[in-house]
């Protein structure tokens, strides 16, 4: 029994990381219809931002070292969002309604960003020291314990998706995003600066990728190609869940995370991964638009 619960938690934990990586994609790919191949690199940017913040604390504020995590969470979002904003203003905005071009161009950007990271931080792995309160584990029963950092990542993932849902459905900014994505010309006719909404929405998507990047520094080391480890599964998560819906992202990541770890546990890693991909194909056969179909007209048309 203990093993099964631990195994299940393992799956939930993988799911929560996947979800963090995928929420941003839900926005840029699902809502805006941009295939951003460089999404993974914004995860990488968030991870290196965390690394830099950690180093700054180590050098200048050693007494407060354990609180660098909070600064890093915010900074990774802000840095990735700002760079995303810049990328939208200078490049992406010329690529709306040109999916093939945007695929190629963002792939190029992905390579450039990886190379830049390599030039700045070097090719070898770097890693961050997690503060004490994130190490260790939470003992639930004699045989069941959950790693603290994993629990915190799960909380952050749930908080992030709730915050995004609140923002999209309950705030003026979210209303303007919805209106712009549903009917751009009408939104502009009602006084919405749709170009600004595009930039801000894209920045939100990349900012969330940055946040994901911050949390994955706790569970492994960082290298310039770390984004590549997440991007494929994040795209599959968004597609299988139903592009453009947060509920889809939630269930898509649960499906992928728990499904993958369970199948790997029951068989072995290679077969497990093959099985989950087969399951994805089966789901998409019956529900081509994903488990929860899109609310955005862009993808319905």
């Amino acid at each position: 029994m203990g093993t099964i619960i631990m195994q299940l938690f393992n799956g939930v934990s993988v799911a929560s990381i996947l979800m963090l990586a995928a929420i941003g994609l839900t926005i840029t790919f699902g809502l805006m219809g941009i295939i951003n191949m460089a999404h993974g690199e914004f995860i990488m940017i968030g991870a290196y931002t965390t690394y830099v913040i950690q180093n700054l604390f180590q050098t200048y504020l050693p007494h407060f070292f354990s609180s660098y995590v909070f600064v890093a969470l915010i900074a990774s979002f802000v840095v990735a969002a700002l760079l995303g904003y810049l990328m939208e203003r200078t490049i992406i905005r010329f690529l709306y309604d040109r999916p093939e071009d945007s695929l190629l161009v963002t792939w190029g950007i992905s390579l450039v960003l990886q190379q830049l990271a390599q030039n700045i931080f070097g090719a070898p792995d770097v890693s961050v020291t997690t503060p004490k309160y994130l190490q260790g584990s939470i003992q639930v029963t004699k045989t069941v314990s959950f790693a603290t950092d994993r629990v915190v990542i799960l909380i952050i993932a749930l908080a992030a998706i709730s915050a995004v849902a609140y923002m999209l459905f309950k705030t003026r900014f979210g209303r303007n995003i919805t209106a712009t994505m549903q009917n751009r010309k009408m939104a502009a006719s009602m006084g919405i600066n749709t170009k600004r909404i595009d930039s801000m929405t894209f920045a939100l998507g990349t900012g969330l990728a940055g946040l994901a990047g911050c949390t994955i520094t706790w569970i492994g080391s960082i290298d310039p190609s770390i984004g590549q480890d997440y991007i494929v599964n994040a795209f599959i998560t968004v597609v299988v869940g139903g592009a453009g819906t947060l509920l889809g992202t939630l269930f898509g990541s649960a499906f992928m995370g728990v499904g993958d770890t369970s199948l790997e546990f029951l068989t072995n890693p290679t077969i497990g991964q093959a099985l989950i991909l087969i399951l994805v194909i089966v789901v998409l056969q019956f529900k081509p638009k994903g488990m929860f179909s899109s609310k955005s007209r862009k993808l319905n048309d």
Binding site: R172, R175, N176, T178, A179, Q182, N183, K185, M186, A187, A188, S189, M190, G191, I192, N193, T194, K295, R297
Partner: protein, 228 residues
């Protein structure tokens, strides 16, 4: 007052509307009449800046709109009710109305008088815009444009596909509103035009061929053009 001089508008290479002159006065209902394909919608899209267009003058009171992007034109005081209504289908009636606040520089509240004009909207505030009937959507589209607190209200065939009783209601609302703003209506339903308008323009193949006060305009020529 909306003043348009030498407006040309079109899609891609050519122009559909050529050198159009038009004035919509405060306190009046101005009608632009024309048959299918005459360029009525194209004219309005040109005024909104939604398509490629140029004009010697495009002015709302003293504000020059001609260089502004669409959203600034809306903020400057054009309330636009497009053909086909273009309600945001996945948003509630309430949120559809709130979107109009983006162009309202004086208030951040949907005004209550709208629900006196269109009681049906109050009842359906939490319903999805896309789930309303055509007539209800038309009322919502007008209300949404009014939320922007416009200086000129522009309506593109508000009677299209709508049952007579609702057309009647819409006509009454327009008459009630005209003391507060300029109103420009695109129509081809002549009976309705003759009921509500003060001044009419006749549009043929992208050119104005006739204009005049409603009770002075050559009705036979208008009928003849519409029937062609």
């Amino acid at each position: 007052m909306l003043t348009i001089e030498d407006l040309s508008a079109g899609y891609g290479e050519g122009t559909v509307v050529n050198n159009l002159n038009l004035i919509a006065n405060q306190g009046q209902v101005t009608c632009l009449i024309g048959r299918n394909g005459a360029g009525k919608t194209t004219t309005l899209r040109g005024i909104m800046g939604l398509i490629k267009s140029s004009a010697d003058t495009l002015r709302l009171d003293e504000t020059d709109l001609s260089k502004m992007p669409t959203y600034r034109r809306a903020q400057s005081g054009i309330g636009y009710v497009p053909q086909g209504r273009e309600i945001f289908p996945n948003m509630t009636v309430r949120d559809n109305l709130r979107i109009g606040l983006e162009a309202n520089e004086n208030s951040q509240q949907v005004p209550d008088y709208l629900f006196t004009l269109f009681p049906i909207l109050k009842q359906f505030l939490d319903r999805k815009g896309g789930d309303l009937s055509g007539g209800q959507q038309q009322q919502l589209a007008i209300a949404r444009a009014l939320v922007t607190d416009p200086k000129v209200l522009i309506l593109d065939e508000p009677t299209e596909g709508i049952q007579p009783s609702v057309i009647q209601e819409i006509g009454e609302v327009i008459t009630e509103l005209k003391s507060k703003m300029a109103i420009l209506i695109v129509e081809q339903y002549l009976e309705f035009v003759m009921q509500i308008s003060d001044y009419c323009y006749l549009l043929e193949n992208g050119n104005i061929t006739l204009e005049g006060l409603r009770n002075e305009i050559d009705l036979e020529q208008v009928k003849h053009t519409l029937a062609l």
